[in-house]
């Protein structure tokens, strides 16, 4: 197959867009002056170096606000979504702790959200970790039931980084508004990919990540609603920049980069998504047409189509990744995680351990081409076939043996 030779393709092919994204050349261009001649500290009030840097930062702030339907003043720059999540969860909970001591979140959240909640538990807060349905979506009735008059915050991520499912943000926001609790969403994987509107969706806090949307690493933002006002205790002390929420000199070049990335994403979102959806379909159908027992993790429709997480029954994830070494992807297999624990997100979906070990996540993005997808399909199919020939489980399945009926030993 000519696709297999990878002629004219730059290898390895990047298919890990959830892990990070390359810098869009237009973003780099916007940033360059602030890495070279315009090096001023945006907080320097007394000279042109500072004024120019400040102007650039404020323009960038406006672009970040625009893509989520927020007011400029509502945007606080941070070092990334991890920091934003920490500020949102710990900062809000700690501020209101005299009156409210309960937080609600979801079992499939990013580690930084779960760890922030665990930290709050150590500080005496109650936290409810809601389960999800097998398709990865939150049950709204369970959410409603979990909220009490002591609940200060509900935190639900917009688009899941491992499986790509989109939570019903507008419905969640309405419930939170109705029940008088704040709604925070980790939108790192969502900004610039799905339409977001903090007013329509009744979102009070939103975490934004630069390097997930073709912007630079090391910058993010936190949207903090001012009407009605959400109060936040800062994580660390300093000169009181960013409305007292986040002290520190703003890295003008990074803020400019985030702003540029948001403006570009807002403009390109429609066209990007159409292309990406087509490529997703091509990849998914290319693999499932050639192989049986391939399982999609996460709802097929309520998802961002830049994410394709599949379980390849009878083939372990790391061994498959080694076989498709010209593709840069990631796996939910325990073998690839430092802790040897399989993905907790897949476990929350009810995916059984043996299948969780076989999962691979493919990320498609703005720069993915059709030729790259065709090459990927050819390589994946070849290796799945090869590794199934090597697999005693595949052999048993072919012989009609029910693998679940075997008493496997412990080791």
């Amino acid at each position: 197959m000519s696709e297999r030779t990878g002629a004219n393709l730059k290898l390895p092919i990047y298919l890990d867009y959830q892990a990070t994204t390359p810098l869009d050349p237009r973003v780099l261009e916007a940033m360059m002056p602030y890495l070279t001649e315009e090096f001023g500290n945006p907080h320097s009030r007394s000279h042109a170096f500072g004024w120019k840097a400040e102007a650039a930062v404020e323009e960038a702030r406006g672009k970040v606000a625009a893509i989520i339907g927020a007011k400029v003043k509502d945007i606080v720059f941070t070092s990334g979504a991890t920091e934003s999540n920490n500020i949102a969860i710990k900062g809000v909970a700690r501020f209101y702790k005299d009156r409210k001591n309960h937080v609600v979140t979801v079992a499939t959240e990013h580690k930084c959200v779960l760890e922030s909640c665990r930290r709050l538990q150590q500080e005496g807060f109650d936290v409810t970790y809601l389960p999800v349905a097998p398709n990865g979506i939150l049950d709204l009735d369970r959410l409603r039931d979990a909220i009490t008059d002591r609940t200060v915050l509900v935190s639900v991520m917009a688009v899941n980084n491992e499986i790509g499912v989109i939570q019903p943000l507008e419905a969640i926001g309405a419930i939170c508004r109705e029940r008088g609790t704040f709604f925070h969403t980790d939108a790192a994987q969502a900004v610039g990919k799905i339409p977001l509107d903090v007013e329509k969706m009744n979102i009070d806090l939103m975490s934004i990540s630069g390097h997930k949307i073709y912007g630079p690493k090391g910058i993010g933002a936190l949207y903090v609603r001012r009407k009605p006002r959400v109060r936040v205790k800062p994580l660390f002390s300093g000169g009181g920049q960013e409305r007292g929420i986040r002290s520190g000199t703003l890295p003008a070049f990074l803020c400019v980069g985030l702003g540029a990335a948001c403006a570009i994403a807002e403009k390109d979102m429609g066209a990007d998504n159409e292309r990406i959806r087509r490529l997703w379909k091509r990849l998914y159908e290319g693999i499932t047409a050639a192989n049986d027992e391939i399982y999609l993790n996460g709802d097929a429709e309520q998802r961002y189509h830049g994410n394709l997480n599949l379980s390849f029954a009878y083939v372990e994830g790391e061994s498959l990744m080694m076989g498709i070494k010209d593709l840069a992807v990631s796996s939910g297999s325990a073998c690839t995680s430092a802790s040897l624990e399989p993905s907790y997100v897949l476990r929350a979906l009810g995916v059984e351990s043996d299948l969780a070990h076989t999962s691979i996540r493919f990320g498609i993005g703005r720069f993915t081409t059709e030729a790259e997808i065709d090459y990927a399909v050819a390589v994946i199919n070849e290796q799945v076939h090869r590794l199934r020939e090597l697999s005693p489980l595949w052999e048993m399945a072919q012989e009609g043996i029910d693998i679940k009926s075997i008493e496997w030993g412990e080791h």
Binding site: V315, E316, G317, S319, M322, T336, S391, L393, W408, H411
Partner: protein
């Protein structure tokens, strides 16, 4: 994971992949691990009448280290007596393949697979129940 050359070679060119007839008198089959753990190895040995392993086959569900460990083991057992094969230690496997520390358990499983295949063969040929238990206990 950054693997060494020998490991990658065994992964890309696994030796002795395949199946012997489980029912064959000269075949011992070891099946170890568990799908829920992400590691299952099936190791089969074909043994001559004088107790020498003349051939071996394997199939593995597992990571690159698991596949390489079991492939290596099929090479090492050939030409050995059952007792000699039982001497193969996971540390030798791990050293030869330069397994990273987090993957040592794959070599342990490969050692278990050899012992399970040997035990299965011995059980098939046990004239005396006690003799089998004695040998199994000695492993």
């Amino acid at each position: 994971m950054a693997y060494g050359d020998k490991l990658i070679d065994h992964y890309e060119n696994p030796r002795n992949v395949g199946v012997f007839d489980k029912g064959d008198e000269s075949v011992g089959t070891g099946l170890v691990g568990a799908p829920a753990c992400g590691d299952v190895m099936k190791l089969q040995i074909k043994v001559t009448a004088n107790g020498v392993i003349e051939d071996a086959k394997f199939k593995t569900f597992g990571c690159g280290s698991a596949i390489a460990s079991s492939s290596l083991v099929t090479e090492w057992v050939k030409g050995k007596t059952l007792d000699e094969a039982a001497e193969i230690k996971n540390t030798h496997i791990a050293e030869h393949l330069a397994l990273p520390p987090v993957k040592i358990h794959c070599s342990v499983l490969a050692e278990d697979a050899i012992k399970a295949a040997i035990a299965d063969y011995r059980e098939k040929h046990a004239t005396d129940r006690d003799e089998v238990e004695e040998k199994a206990a000695a492993l």
